[in-house]
């Protein structure tokens, strides 16, 4: 069994008076892909943003690669190898494709992902490098968002709903790229609405329900029915 790269423990996260996460704990094994599933509003995006440092937790801790990073600002996490592909892509609309990727390298952990390697992995966007990000198609924008995160040379890549609003064939292509990243040694946390795709692509699965962990297990050890039950909160295993 691979070592633990990321471990969050007892996370409570609030937006003002609204509590989004209640004592969430999970661990991510090094070199593995973890699927983070749950209904809308279950707290998946909040959890990823907390790991990335955008959302300070009221209590609990985030440990990464052997040290406590709960209080570290986002840029320090990026330079330690944590990169987030945010929900809705969030490209810098006025920047070109290439500038978006260059900005992603602002706090890069290493120079493992120079532009040439990124364009090699995403030949489609290489042709669009001088175009404004806002003029691209949805699939191309998602590819740029992943490329921007890769430019930071991450060890742990957090991907939030990368298939949202994209054609199945485009999603297929993105997941093939992710499979390539995994075989290159990256650790992934994938938020995905499509349960079957999530279970196919990942080793471990964590299901959130209303801000709490409803199920956490290796994918091989759970049935689809168990996940569905945890997803809707019908049965607690």
């Amino acid at each position: 069994m691979a070592g633990t790269l990321l471990e969050v423990a007892g996370l409570d996260v609030f937006y003002g008076d609204f509590q989004a996460l209640f004592g969430v704990s999970m661990s991510v094994r090094s070199g593995c892909a973890t699927a983070l599933v749950g209904a809308n509003g279950a707290g998946k995006t909040t959890l990823l943003r907390t790991i990335a440092g955008a959302q300070p937790p009221a209590s609990g801790s985030v440990r990464y690669d052997g040290s406590d990073i709960t209080a570290a600002p986002p840029h320090r996490r990026v330079s330690r190898g944590i990169a987030l592909v945010p929900e809705g892509r969030k490209l810098f609309a006025s920047l070109t494709v290439e500038e978006n990727i260059q900005v992603g390298a602002a706090a890069a952990a290493s120079d493992a992902w120079p532009l040439e390697r990124i364009y090699g992995a995403f030949p489609l966007i290489a042709k669009r490098r001088k175009q404004r990000a806002s003029t691209l198609s949805g699939g191309e924008q998602q590819a740029v968002a992943i490329a921007r995160a890769l430019a930071a040379a991450p060890t742990l890549l957090l991907l939030d709903e990368i298939s949202l609003g994209l054609a199945p064939l485009v999603v297929e292509g993105l997941y093939e790229t992710l499979a390539g990243l995994r075989s290159a040694g990256a650790t992934l946390v994938i938020v995905e609405q499509d349960l079957r795709r999530a279970m196919d692509a990942c080793d471990d699965l964590v299901c959130l329900l209303e801000g709490r962990v409803a199920l956490a297990a290796p994918v091989a050890g759970v049935s689809r029915d168990q996940v569905v039950a945890a997803y809707f909160g019908e049965v607690r295993s």
Binding site: K90, A93, S94, L95, E99, V103, A107
Partner: protein
Amino acid sequence: MNWVNAVIQGMLLGGQYALIACGLSLTFGVMRIVNLAHGDLAVCGAYLGLVLSSGLGVPVWVTLPLLLPAAFVVGMGLQVLLFGRALRHGVLAPVLVTFGLSIMIENLLQVAATSDPRGLNGGALTLASFHVSSGITVSWLFLTGFLTACAVLSGLQLLLTHTSWGRKVRATADDLDTARLVGIRVRPVFATVAGIAIATAALAGVFIGTIGTFDPLTGTDTLIFAFEAVVIGGIGSLWGTLAGGVGLGITQVVVGEVNQAYAVLAVNLLFLAVLTVRPGGLFASHQPAGEVLG
């Protein structure tokens, strides 16, 4: 009455408005701060120029290598100590903070320097002029001011489009939250932008003080014109700001040719007209502010 001359003089005057306005435009475009003390900070630049140039006994231009870095540091300090903190408390707090700063600066200047109008020693440039043709005489000082404004705006534009710092500034202007997430350290970006904004304000203050006179309350009048230039041009757009400033200057001088009493009124009417017809400004696009900054 000479219309061509009026347009030329108006354009040159407009350069001054653009120079003072570009810092406002930058501050709003990147930090979303409406700095109501911007005009007063420009006047502080003029007073600092006065102290330095009379202290050293040299024309004020010679003191710029001291004055501009000092203004840059003041801008960074204000951002880190004041504006940045205010920004954490919503959009209203920076307005109140900069308004308070404006009042403080004006009163401190009155205590320290009295209300007497002052002028700066611009050396030989102050009175030099050349004839273009009969009826058109261009002051070297006004021309220098206009060219300086163009140089500053072009320089800013180049920095924003072609440097890694500029990329970070535009990304931050586009989306602050995501800029942080991808690892941009926003605080140094904001501090340098504020430094540049205040340095350009101080430079504009030096021209204001050399071309005319200034007193502790000059900042407020200056701010209104600068604001109008920014809004007419489109908020966050540097070239729009230049166009806005030139539009204001031409309107003011051309109407002044007809009747001096209506010159400033005409400027404000132009501003109202643009606000009514194109509230986003003449050069605003539908993109976020970063679009036009780049």
